[in-house]
């Protein structure tokens, strides 16, 4: 038990200092009938080598993105992360520190959170951002709840282009407090359909751009329509790199941006941990959920940073708090902010252009295959194709050849009647050779 420093002698000495005869004396408050006599039925202590072998065996059974032609997206993206990022986030002082409740000895964490908030605000084109939420989908749910608090209205109109899992995660939470949702039917390129649904009871309109089918949309007109009706516009972004090239949500009139930050600095991780980006307008900050870092001064007038506006939070307001959240994605924000600092504006724009370039090349290669129809009109790094066969079957067949061809839309929304639709994403990590392999294999599978 290499992680436990007490020796048997230590334990004896300490029990004596306490005045207890045995360790059982310290568990005296536990009812007799609920005490376990000995260890539960699980394997006993294992050495480092043993654990490493067992877990490596499980890891070895998975096909990894870095070793296969890989085109999966739909809310999680394979990007290259500079070595510096992982090195820095593993530094003890970042990795093993806690929430910065004592700001005098947590300025490292607090300063990077402040830098992160500024980066996210600038990237999203919004005045302020928080220090992150769990992920993009929970950020969207928090956004809808926040909009109902701000407008004192009760209904969210959600575009059919929003990621179905984001919609489900949001509905699960907001329905519990009686917020109604109206979700429009899925359509590759129909963000503007939401305008007709806006009414006097609409708290917010939720659109995603680029949407789950990859379609990039200028949502300025939707923002105008929402504002004219006294509703807020929530813009969801699942691919943060897209904001390096496309018009920002803020520029298009968003009131709240709920985005997934995984693409910058964070690995795929089979779905988590990720990092929810959340930004809004200045006058709404007291309604914002999550943790916030703010600037202040110390007793000698030196600039410093602290967690702030805690009067919104659960530990003070308890059942009146803006949310029950009591954490953020600290280490993932650090990864995000380091990667973003390395990229800078020039690097981010180049990265975004490379993503677009690879996706266009992939689109061109797939469009040339008989029976394949590209549906997405304007896209960043992901697009939808219609196949002459069920997409899930095609993906399985290609997986047998170790090609991860994309995400069948039916995996996200089995009842949408879009079984022939495949979502294909490319990034800077996509090789020309990968595109060739995918196109060749797809042509074969479709011809068979």
């Amino acid at each position: 038990m290499r992680y436990l420093p007490l020796t048997p002698d230590d334990r004896t000495e300490m029990l004596a200092a306490i005045g207890a005869k045995s360790i059982d004396d310290l568990f005296v408050d536990v009812p007799q009938s609920a005490r376990l006599d000995g260890p539960v039925d699980l394997p006993r202590v294992a050495g480092e080598l043993e654990v490493e072998r067992a877990l490596s065996a499980m890891a070895g059974k998975n096909a990894t993105a870095g070793t296969t032609p890989f085109f999966c997206g739909a809310g999680a993206y394979k990007h290259h992360v500079p070595a510096t990022v992982d090195h820095v986030i593993q530094r003890s002082e970042f990795l093993t520190s806690y929430t910065p409740y004592q700001p005098e000895i947590a300025q490292g964490t607090l300063q990077y959170l402040y830098e992160f908030q500024t980066q996210v605000a600038n990237l999203t084109g919004m005045p302020v951002a928080n220090a992150s939420l769990y992920d993009g989908s929970t950020a969207m749910a928090e956004g809808v709840l926040m909009a109902t608090r701000v407008t004192r209205r009760n209904k969210a109109v959600i575009s059919g282009g929003v990621h179905p899992h984001y919609v489900q995660a949001t509905e699960t939470v907001v329905h519990a407090v009686g917020v109604e949702t109206q979700v429009l039917p899925a359509a590759v390129d129909a963000e503007a359909d939401v305008i007709a649904q806006i009414g006097a009871d609409t708290a917010c309109v939720v659109v995603q751009t680029p949407n789950v089918f990859g379609t990039a949309t200028d949502v300025t007109k939707i923002a105008e329509a929402a504002h004219a009706a006294g509703a807020l516009l929530i813009v969801v972004v699942t691919e943060a790199v897209s904001m390096g090239l496309l018009k920002s949500p803020g520029e298009m009139g968003a009131d709240i941006v709920a985005a997934e930050g995984q693409s910058i600095g964070n690995a795929l991780n089979f779905g988590g941990p990720y990092v929810g980006l959340f930004a809004t307008r200045e006058k709404l900050i007291r309604q914002m959920p999550g943790r916030l870092c703010g600037e202040t001064v110390d007793a000698e007038g030196e600039r410093g940073f602290v967690l702030t506006l805690s009067t919104r939070e659960q530990h003070i307001r308890r059942d009146k708090a803006t949310s029950n959240i009591c954490t953020n994605s600290g280490l993932c924000t650090l990864a995000f902010t380091i990667h973003m600092s390395l990229l800078g504006e020039t690097g981010l724009r180049n990265l975004a252009l490379l993503n677009h370039e690879k996706a266009v090349a992939t689109r061109d290669a797939l469009a040339a295959i008989p029976g394949v129809e590209v549906l997405t009109p304007r896209f960043f790094n992901e697009f939808a194709v219609k196949l002459p066969k069920p997409a899930a079957e095609v993906v399985e067949r290609l997986a047998e050849h170790r090609i991860l061809a994309g995400v069948p839309y039916s995996r996200l929304a089995p009842d949408a009647g879009m079984d022939d639709l495949l979502l294909v994403a490319a990034t800077e990590t996509t090789l020309d050779a990968d595109i060739k392999i995918l196109a060749g294999a797809l042509a074969k599978v479709l011809a068979a």
Binding site: R2, Y3, P5, L6, R11, A17, G19, L26, L42, V45, E48, M58, K61, N62, A65, G66, C72, P82, H87, I89, R91, E93, T96, Y98, E104, Q107, Q111, E115, Q117, L123, H165, Q168, A169, T172, V173, A176, G244, L245, L246, G271, G272, G294, V297, E300, V306, T308, Q314, D319, N324, T327, L331, C332, S341, E345, N350, L354, H356, E357, R378, L404
Partner: protein, 522 residues
């Protein structure tokens, strides 16, 4: 008069002389570190990427025209910036982090190494399930460990933090009441006054009204008060056990019996599971739902605030309502059921886009396997032993809030012993910083005046505990001797002096903006 160390040198180098201010604001090796926005990084980049062949012209009007406002750092500049920042942080790898109810324990690097195996870190949440059988096996194995350790039949892995787990548990409870047609009348959740703020916040978040339950003089749930408030309008009770006063709820069996008799469910906040793991199974206490903060009990690193993971174990009664997705093994390999309709139509929905915090699952399982069932039992014993040792060795100088009987994983003191000194809990905490220690949790739980909550955890050695105890005793002695200046102005030796939190809240500045007249971006 300065103190001498064992070789006769003064322990403070500038003892006897005024400290001159430095010319640059640096302190020793500690450099002042500007914000990345205040440097010359505009237009700079620290990554080498191929030159794109496109300028995005095909996207027309959708392309961003104005500058974003993101400075760049070369790789050496980035290394220095973040390493310098790191030097201004306390961390568990530097010294004891005695934050009660936050459970900061050693973070083994083996866990990090395992989580970074490409087979776990470089797989996509939506790739074909046939290509991620090992990942699903890991989730299944983790589930087995969690259900066995808690004596509960089912687990929902996907909640992304402890508070998210509370949400999951309460939504399962709500779904169960909806299924039995009782939801309309059961609109209350009972929460003891000593609960974490997340408990009432979560209950309210799920649409319940929160009713507080009183606490007895010995720091436990007042069973008589609970019984008087239980009725057919109560959906659930939420009890933390061991509780936030560091005490085991002695009447827990009675509490669960009364709760079930009233037709309500028993939600247990499992934040302090590390105190009983391997010695008590919550299932045997009648718990219906309990979240487990993987970072607390199973050592996933806290990283300055997260990410966390909050799997929820569920009783038979609540299991059918667990959110999607979940893993099954149908003999033909592992399968991830992603929609409620596929298996149990009663699932209350979905909590997040994918399957939760895989990276944290790997770390937690690595920790569990390293200890094994015998080691995990030892974890609880050592955590409890360490806390009681601290309590025993400080109780003569400081006032333990509940002096009678043992505590569990944390020792709770109040500020009674500081009466008449003009020193507050906050002052005392800041002086601890000067002595090289992270302060304990202050002012929580709310039920104790000026609370000081100390949790050592099982990964502290006796030598480190003794060092901590000696420092606390020295400080307590100084406080009682009237050495007020040592406390009022503290910390004197941290990277910054006491920070003005009121000012930060009154006029919030949440981001950097370019100084007026500068031509820097944004």
């Amino acid at each position: 008069m300065s103190t001498m160390n064992t070789v006769g040198r003064p322990t403070t180098p500038n003892a006897g002389s005024e400290k001159p201010a430095t010319l640059t604001g640096g302190r020793g090796l500690l450099q002042n570190e500007a914000l990345i926005f205040e440097g010359d990084g505009w237009g700079k980049t620290g990554v080498d990427l191929p030159k794109p062949k496109t300028d995005g012209a095909d996207l027309g009007d959708l392309v961003r025209k104005d500058p974003i406002g993101l400075p760049g750092l070369s790789e050496p500049e980035a290394m220095r910036h973040y390493v310098r920042l790191s030097q201004k942080n306390h961390a568990i790898d530097l010294a004891i982090y005695p934050l009660g109810s936050c459970t900061m324990k050693h973070n083994p690097r083996l866990n990090e190494k395992m989580a970074r195996l490409p087979g776990f870190s470089d797989i996509h949440p939506l790739q074909p399930q046939s290509t991620v059988q090992g990942a699903l096996e890991l989730m299944d194995t983790l589930s087995h460990w969690l259900t066995t350790l808690t004596g509960m039949p089912a687990v929902a892995l996907s909640p992304k933090a402890g508070a998210h787990g509370e949400l999951c548990g309460l939504m399962a409870i709500r779904a169960a009441h909806e299924a039995s047609g009782q939801h309309e009348k059961r609109r209350k959740v009972l929460v003891p006054t000593s609960a974490h703020g997340t408990n009432p916040a979560t209950a309210a978040f799920v649409g319940y009204s929160v009713v507080e339950v009183a606490q007895t003089d010995d720091g436990r749930v007042d069973v008589a008060d609970l019984a008087s408030k239980l009725g057919d309008d109560v959906a659930a009770i939420m009890v933390t056990n061991p509780n936030t006063c560091g005490l085991f709820e002695r009447d827990i069996l009675e509490i669960s019996r009364l709760t079930h008799e009233a037709g309500a469910y028993f939600y247990c906040d499992g934040a302090n599971f590390n105190a009983i793991v391997g010695r008590v199974r919550p299932g045997d206490l009648g718990v219906d739902a309990m979240h487990i903060n993987l970072h607390k009990t199973f050592s996933t690193p806290h990283g300055g605030g997260g990410p966390g993971a909050g799997p929820v174990v569920l009783s038979e009664a609540l299991a059918p309502f667990a959110p999607a997705p979940w893993v099954v093994n149908d003999g033909d390999g592992f399968k991830l059921l992603e929609r409620a309709e596929e298996d149990a139509a009663q699932a209350f929905g979905r909590l997040c886009a994918f399957q939760g915090q895989m990276g944290m699952y790997v770390r937690a399982l690595s920790y569990m396997m390293s200890h094994g069932s015998d080691g995990l039992r030892q974890v609880a014993e050592d955590a409890v032993l360490n806390a009681n040792y601290i309590k025993a060795r400080l109780s003569d100088l400081m006032s333990a809030a509940f002096p009678n009987g043992p505590c569990m994983h944390e020792a709770l003191f109040d500020d009674e012993w500081l009466k008449g000194t003009d020193i507050t809990t906050l002052d005392f905490a800041k002086a601890m910083i000067d002595e090289g220690f992270h302060p304990m949790t202050m002012y929580f739980p709310l039920v104790v005046h000026g609370a000081m909550l100390i949790e050592p955890t099982e990964t502290e050695s006796k030598a480190e505990l003794d060092r901590f105890i000696e420092a606390m005793r020295a400080l307590a002695g100084a406080a009682k001797a009237g050495d007020v200046d040592r406390f009022k102005g503290a910390p004197f030796h941290a990277p910054l002096r006491r920070l003005d939190e009121t000012r930060a809240a009154r006029s919030p500045v949440l981001r950097w903006t370019a100084p007026q007249g500068s031509n820097q971006a944004a």
